[in-house]
């Protein structure tokens, strides 16, 4: 019996070893290697790649990445929570339909959706045309290739990752708890703050992680909507591997990011179990 169970675990083990553990080890090892002037890897131990990263120019990139990731996570939460609430409170038939409508765009390619935003935001794009025809502005605004565009693109693309975990918590929430709060004298606002919000905290934490992680490491959105003006961690890593041929430095930045992600995951998983108490 036990042997059979282990046999079933084989695909999982093979997968994680091949596609998670080995690549992680390679990146980690590379990040401590020296580099020849032509970009070849020399297996000689050095801290230089990490020291290089802690220069103001790169720390600025790190800071910008964090600010944008935090902002877009906050944006997703502010839009996503009410959405999740509305969907979860709808009648079952309407609910399934709403979830489907919401998930539908996810089935089109991520790149395509981001290109579509380029079309909407460009100088003679949808938003500028509407604003012009309403005579609110005289000449087109510069919307595309700004940090704002990157922000909008991130919120748009990552919103489902915020809505779905919150929705799944809210839809399972026992109506009995809400009734009990009402029964004990809590009006709808108090019920929300003291019962619904704390009880949906695990969903909020999951949503925050699910949005914050990809937002921190994205490079496509910042590339397409930021037009190379907004350099984020993801872009920096991409450059090091593809243009600068400095895999060692790219690996070092990646390692820093992986450690950050790990810390956030550990901290939040601690809050996820106790988190429900935090808001009370």
């Amino acid at each position: 019996m036990d042997k059979k169970k282990r046999l079933l675990a084989l695909p999982y083990i093979a997968w994680t070893v091949a596609f998670s553990i080995i690549p992680l080890i390679i990146i980690f090892v590379y990040s401590f290697c020296e580099r020849t002037p032509y970009g070849d890897i020399v297996f000689k131990f050095t801290y230089d790649n990490y020291v290089k990263f802690f220069q103001p120019i790169y720390l600025k990139v790190l800071w910008r990445s964090i600010v944008l990731a935090v902002a877009s996570t906050a944006g997703c939460l502010l839009i996503g929570y009410p959405m999740a609430w509305i969907i979860a409170r709808a009648k079952e038939k309407a609910r399934n339909f709403m979830v489907m409508l919401f998930v539908l765009p996810l089935w089109t390619n991520f790149l395509l959706r981001t290109y579509a935003w380029m079309g909407l935001l460009r100088e003679n794009g949808f938003f500028n045309q509407v604003l012009m025809s309403l005579r609110l502005i005289d000449e087109p605004l510069k919307l595309l290739y700004t940090e704002g565009a990157v922000f909008v693109g991130m919120v748009y693309n990552f919103l489902p990752f915020m809505v779905l975990p919150i929705y799944s918590v809210l839809v399972k929430m026992d109506q009995g708890h809400i009734d009990a709060a009402n029964d004990l004298g809590a009006d709808p606002r108090q019920t929300f703050i003291k019962v619904v919000l704390p009880l949906s905290f695990p969903g909020i934490v999951s949503g925050i992680i699910m949005v914050f992680m990809p937002a921190l490491s994205t490079f496509i959105i910042s590339d397409l909507l930021g037009g190379g003006q907004t350099m984020l961690l993801g872009n920096l890593i991409q450059n090091q591997f593809l243009s600068a041929r400095n895999w060692q430095f790219g690996s070092a930045i990646s390692s820093v990011m992986i450690v950050m992600v790990l810390i956030i995951t550990l901290v939040s998983s601690k809050y996820r179990s106790e988190g429900s108490e935090m808001l009370w």
Binding site: D174, G176, H177, D179, A180, A181, N182, D183, L184, G185, A186, D187, Q190, T191, K194, V195, P198, L199, F201, S276, E277, W280
Partner: protein, 441 residues
């Protein structure tokens, strides 16, 4: 004029097509312990939810201390609920769960602490303040739920099957504890349960419900001893129920005999149903007593034996007795005149029937006595039967028949006389009263 703390006036509730409550009128006095009793789906929980403000009735009014509160939301009502699944807040510890209502009212911290402490003492959970809800047993959670409601000092406490999830011993302890608490605190309790024993133990008044309609509203003793109809008699405890004819005040004819009874006020020769509780029956030697029969089965129940005696008409009497009996032996059954309770017949237990006897087809009604619900639900069918007894009621022929197929006695009410010497075939239920001679599928 007497003051009532809670009143329902003509309250009806419809869900989509189904009517959950119809025309409920109910008055509850101060400090009364009232129980809503009925099987699941009878509308008792719906009624409680309307009182709590969680459901808005389709029509009718809810009055609290004389004021109309139909439109008042639950959080403004001066009553509290103990929910079926307790609905304790999992993100709060015991103290904060109990303090929830007081914190909403923004009472000073000292007062909250003091009141919660007193409540914990009342429900025997001192020292549990910091525990988490998930780590409590069912009985403890239950007591926290009660404390959380009572700490608000409501004038009325609504309890929705609060003991349903507990095991038997704990349930019995909690029943007594709840009753004591209610008497000590002087609060009106409105209690919902499907457990008739629980209702009898705790209540000042029981309201028996069925299909959204109040069947009987009385004290536990009267509900038990003087059930108003077949349904109530059947739901509360075990009961022997037979059809009979009320010959005059205090005199009923049943099983071909005239029995004295304490009931009056029925029409002359009215077709009635009578109920006798199994513990009121006495086993006597053969030839004595009011009925004669043969012992069919004996089951040991702990305090007593439950003995089934089939009498000569085929009726199965349930007898509860501390004495044992021999299966297959013959004996007499006796009971005092007071043991009889006369009830008006309930039309739900009547099926249209066509009786075929010696080439004749007779239309009439079939009245079901024992284990009747199954036959009412199954709708229609046909039975071979032997006529056993005959009598008359207000111009109708009443014939007791015994069916070997199902080993039950039923009663036929017909215009025509049914010959006692010939066997019968009874076709009953939907389609039975189709034109004569047609096959009933």
């Amino acid at each position: 004029m007497e003051r009532y703390i809670l009143e329902l006036k003509d309250v009806s509730m419809k869900f989509e097509d189904a009517e959950a409550l119809s025309g409920i009128n109910l008055k509850i006095k101060h400090k009364e312990f009232v129980t809503l009793l009925g099987p699941s789906g009878c509308g008792k929980s719906t009624m409680l939810r309307i009182l709590g403000g969680f459901l808005y009735p389709t029509s009718g009014k809810v009055l609290f201390d004389g004021t109309d509160i139909t439109d008042v939301p639950p959080y403004q009502r001066k009553l509290n609920t103990v929910f079926q699944k307790y609905a304790l807040f999992p993100h709060l510890n015991i103290f904060d769960n109990i303090a929830f209502g007081l914190k909403i009212k923004k009472l000073p911290n000292d007062e909250i602490k003091q009141k919660v402490k007193a409540m914990l003492k009342l429900v025997n959970l001192e020292g549990y303040e910091r525990r988490r809800v998930q780590f409590l047993s069912g009985g403890q959670q239950q007591r926290v739920a009660i404390a959380r409601a009572l700490v608000n000092e409501p004038e009325v406490l609504l309890l929705d099957e609060p003991l349903g999830a507990l095991d038997l011993q704990l349930r019995k302890d909690m029943q007594l504890e709840l009753k004591r608490m209610q008497q000590r605190l002087g609060i009106t309790f409105l209690y919902v349960t499907h457990d008739q024993e629980e209702a009898l133990t705790m209540s000042d008044r029981i309201i028996v419900m069925k299909d959204g309609v109040i069947q009987q509203d009385d004290t536990p003793i009267k509900i038990y001893n003087e059930p108003i109809n077949h349904y109530v008699a059947d739901f509360i405890g075990e009961a022997n129920m037979l059809y009979g004819v009320m010959r005059e005040d205090y005199k009923v004819e049943c099983e071909g005999l005239i029995w004295k009874c304490p009931d009056k006020g029925f029409e002359k020769d009215e077709f009635i149903e009578l109920v006798i509780r199994p513990e009121d029956l006495e086993m006597v030697p053969e030839g004595q007593g009011k009925a004669q029969g043969i012992v069919e089965s004996v089951v040991f129940k702990g305090v007593h034996y439950e003995i089934v005696v089939r009498d000569d008409t085929g009726y199965d009497w349930i007898v509860q007795n501390t004495k044992n009996a021999q299966i297959g032996s013959r004996m007499g059954i006796d009971f005092s005149d007071d043991a009889i309770q006369i009830m008006r017949v309930s039309p739900e237990y009547r099926l249209p029937a066509v009786i075929e006897q010696a080439g004749r087809s007779i239309r009439g009604e079939l009245w079901i006595t024992q284990d009747s619900e199954d036959y009412v639900k199954s709708g229609s069918g046909s039975l071979n039967a032997v006529p056993k007894l005959h009598t008359e009621s207000q111009g109708k022929n009443i014939t007791t028949v015994f069916s070997e197929d199902i080993r039950r006695t039923w009663v036929l009410r017909t215009d025509e006389y049914i010959n006692l010497s010939d066997r019968l075939v009874i076709r009953y239920g939907a389609g039975a009263d189709s034109p004569d001679g047609q096959e009933v599928s």
